[in-house]
């Protein structure tokens, strides 16, 4: 129980630091004080000054962050500058969309990566391994923008783009980890003694490589979220990824801080979850 509370406290500290850090990064980036509307030549000098002043309101990051935390405790996440809507409403609408797209993409990507890595490793045929490597290289080398546009053109689901972004990365780690494991002496002995391939996989390979594979699972969530930004923007999907890109271009401080906090929570939760699972796996193997 104490360990759990310590973990939660550490997570909270990281989330708070993350929010402040992201606010600072946004504040220090050029373009924070300006508004595209300033370029409208119909606007009077007073109106331009008013636009600048509205932006300057959040210049003091410490004050902004304290106000933000105070409001967040009451459930008010602020208002998006670029979209003129409450952040809570935006996140509530868009999070399920991204969860579905990224979640399905992650599952599909993992499934394909693990299956292909297993086949390539267990079959122990050079040709198969080469084909799998080429396939992974193709999807690693194709920009997400190109993939996304091709899928839109073909009316194919956008989650498959995320799957194809995740697949080569997970495949690469999985293939190398499994290959090393299958080359170890105790496995060669097991083969020689006639132990079946499924038993070898479940009893001898996964316990050894499992914790690292679980760590890959944790980071693949970050990969999927990162891929969601270009994929949603290009496929016209109104999810968190598209929101993040619009917020970044518009230097939308309230929205960006909330999005960073959200991503930090997801990253910490998945990586922590994979750590715990890895520990259990090692204890079970021992």
């Amino acid at each position: 129980m104490r360990k759990l509370l310590r973990h939660l406290a550490a997570m909270l500290a990281i989330i708070l630091v993350g929010g402040l850090l992201s606010a600072t990064l946004v504040r220090l980036a050029p373009g924070f004080d300006v508004d595209e509307e300033q370029l409208d030549s119909r606007l009077s000098g007073e109106s331009v000054a008013a636009l600048r002043q509205a932006r300057a309101r959040d210049r003091n990051i410490a004050r902004f962050y304290l106000h933000y935390l105070g409001r967040a405790l009451r459930g008010d996440l602020g208002e998006s500058r670029t979209l003129n809507r409450p952040v809570r409403e935006l996140l509530a609408q868009r999070l399920p969309v991204t969860a579905r797209v990224a979640g399905l993409g992650l599952l599909a990507g993992w499934f394909c990566a693990v299956v292909v890595a297993l086949v390539a490793t267990m079959a122990r045929r050079v040709t198969l391994d080469l084909v799998a490597t080429l396939l992974a290289a193709v999807f690693l080398s194709l920009p997400a923008a190109v993939l996304a546009l091709l899928f839109v053109f073909a009316n194919a689901p956008a989650c498959m783009v995320i799957a194809l972004v995740v697949f080569p990365k997970v495949f690469s780690y999985a293939r190398n980890l499994l290959a090393k494991s299958y080359d170890s002496p105790h496995l060669i002995t097991a083969y020689a003694k006639g132990v079946g391939p499924l038993r070898i996989l479940l009893w001898h390979v996964l316990p050894v490589t499992g914790s690292q594979l679980l760590a890959v699972a944790g980071i693949s969530v970050s990969i999927a979220l990162g891929a969601a930004v270009p994929v949603e923007s290009l496929c016209g999907i109104a999810g968190i990824g598209q929101l993040a890109w619009q917020a970044a271009l518009g230097r939308d401080l309230p929205l960006l801080v909330n999005l960073t906090v959200l991503v930090t929570v997801i990253t910490l939760a998945t990586n922590w979850g994979s750590e715990i699972a890895g520990q259990r796996l090692r204890m079970g193997a021992a």
Binding site: G31, E36, Q38, S41, R42, G236
Partner: protein, 541 residues
């Protein structure tokens, strides 16, 4: 006899089908972002402007084809001799979409709200001629006078942008006098506009307009998806088409694309002449030299820019006003001819010399500068690269730096940490008063050297004088003469090196009847009341 009867019946049937075929249906097209506001007086973005155009009732409308003001809710108007007030005679028995009556009080209410200093809207600021309050006088239910503190040039046409808001309705923002009203809005998805059952306008046959039942504005930021959707028949028009997409679409379906000719928009570059800019003094000296700017201008091949970047759908630009602006365009002006040898001669007069392939100034500095432009805008990136090559031929080394728009804006309006910039001008209004804050040396948008306490050059002082004179005058002839001279000075001095006027390109599905794209915004649906959908299966384009 029987054959004749059958013929009559068939003709009647065809006529009926044609009549009903010309009404009803839902027009679909995309806007590229969620609207920031539904308040027609606070419009700042394109999506909100589209909704305002389709739902707002205005006192008069600038016909997008003839560029002349025509009566709408006002049957007639008179501008006082001193140019400070305007009196409108209004139509009677007009109702908002929610049934509330329209009267002169609504006009007064709208103007009071619009001119509220706290609103800071571009529409409101267009009317600001001086400090002091705007007064409204309601003479009767159908007559209202609006008085401004100072004369407002081009006063009547400014009302094209003012949608009259109801002073009585419970839902002021959404009660519409225009052909449609806002029926539904799903953020990130669509805005649905339905036919206004109380719309006052009728066609020549006495049928109530609009013909369409509804307009669905899908929210789609991605232009590739817009293009694909159009080709699949999922949307009926693309209001603004990139030249690259125009060519591809034209190759497959030539009848669906429209090139209305040079639009109001231009692309230009300029040099940073701000005295406090953090650039080396010798570079500032180059940029402040009129001959240097003229030489750079002469060294740029505008015909190539039009042909290569825009596929011929652009025209070399001379000055700030394109020929699309019938009245205000100065027809005496010509785009600078491409003349690299002439450019070098001009530079040599200023003490520059070519050493090998490098141009040096009189102090021996190699002529080198950067041009910033906004990343993601492919035509501008390509133009910047072509300008880089053109100037390379006369020994000038140009660095092209593409930046995200906020960073770029920060440099040109905040830190002034830039040397050259390449951007465009999107002109929505025909009247040169719209450009007042561009030409006045004290203004924020006087891009090359903004917010001057007093004009730093004689020609800027002359432009200030001319712009103020045309703003104070009510005589079109006087105003035209003043602004013609402003354009001439702009071409002589080249503070902006105007590159091209972009053509107004659009695409309209074959199912849309009565479409007649023009150069003024909104190019394709300016006559929305009379657009209709043909009764045929929409096929893939």
């Amino acid at each position: 006899m029987r054959r004749r009867a059958i013929g009559v019946v068939l003709s009647l049937m065809f006529a009926l089908v044609a009549a009903f075929g010309q009404s009803g249906g839902e027009l679909k097209f995309f806007v590229h972002s969620d609207p920031k506001t539904f308040d027609p007086l606070a419009v700042v973005d394109d999506a909100s402007e589209t909704i305002r155009y389709l739902t707002g009732g205005v006192l008069l409308r600038v016909n997008r084809r003839t560029q002349q003001a025509e009566p709408e809710l006002a049957t007639a108007w008179t501008i006082a001799r001193d140019g400070r007030s305007i009196t409108f005679n209004l139509r009677d028995h007009i109702y908002y979409s929610d049934g509330s009556p329209f009267s002169a009080e609504d006009v007064a209410y709208t103007m009071q709200r619009l001119m509220d200093p706290a609103l800071h809207s571009p529409t409101g600021d267009s009317f600001r001629s001086g400090s002091g309050a705007v007064h409204t006088k309601v003479d009767s239910a159908t007559r209202v006078t609006i008085t401004f503190p100072e004369p407002v040039a081009g006063l009547d046409k400014l009302f094209d942008q003012v949608a009259i808001v109801s002073s009585h309705s419970n839902n002021k923002e959404r009660a519409a006098l225009g052909p449609f009203y806002i029926a539904d809005y799903k953020p990130d998805s669509y805005v649905l506009l339905r036919r206004n059952p109380n719309y006052w306008r009728r066609d020549a046959a006495g049928r109530q307009l609009p013909y369409l039942d509804s307009v669905r504005l899908g929210i789609q930021p991605n232009r590739d998806i817009e293009m694909m959707s159009f080709r699949r028949g999922e949307i009926d028009l693309i209001n603004w088409l990139d030249s690259e997409y125009f060519e591809r679409l034209a190759a497959q379906s030539p009848g669906l694309v429209h090139d209305a000719g040079p639009g109001l928009d231009s692309e230009q570059m300029w040099f940073n002449q701000a005295p406090n800019a953090p650039i080396p003094a010798y570079k500032r000296a180059w940029f402040r030299s009129t001959n240097f700017r003229r030489a750079v201008s002469a060294a740029i091949n505008r015909a190539d820019l039009s042909r290569v970047v825009y596929g011929g759908h652009a025209q070399p630009a001379a000055g700030p006003v394109s020929p699309a602006n019938h009245f205000w365009f100065n027809a005496r002006l010509r785009a600078p001819a491409y003349d690299p040898s002439g450019a070098l001669r001009i530079l040599q007069q200023e003490g520059f010399r070519l050493q090998g392939t490098t141009l040096l100034d009189r102090e021996g500095h190699a002529v080198e500068f950067s041009i910033i432009t906004n990343a993601g805008n492919k035509p501008r990136e390509r133009m910047a690269t072509m300008v880089q090559q053109d100037l390379g031929k006369i020994g000038i080394n140009v660095h092209v730096v593409t930046l995200d728009f906020a960073s770029l804006l920060d440099r040109i309006t905040g830190s002034y940490n830039y040397e050259g910039a390449l951007l465009g001008m999107a002109n929505t209004d025909l009247d040169p008063n719209e450009q007042m804050n561009l030409w006045l040396s004290s203004a924020d948008n006087h891009q090359w050297n903004p917010r001057q306490k007093s004009p730093e050059t004689a020609w800027e002082a002359e432009i200030d004088r001319l712009m103020k004179e045309q703003a104070a005058s009510l005589e079109p002839v006087t105003r035209k003469a003043c602004f013609d001279r402003v354009q001439e000075i702009a071409v002589e001095q080249q503070p902006f090196i105007f590159l091209v006027y972009k053509n107004a390109l659009s695409a309209v599905s074959a199912t849309v009847a009565n479409a007649s794209p023009v150069v003024l915004r909104p190019q394709t649906y300016w006559n929305i009341e009379t657009l209709s959908l043909r009764v045929q299966t929409a096929s893939k384009h």
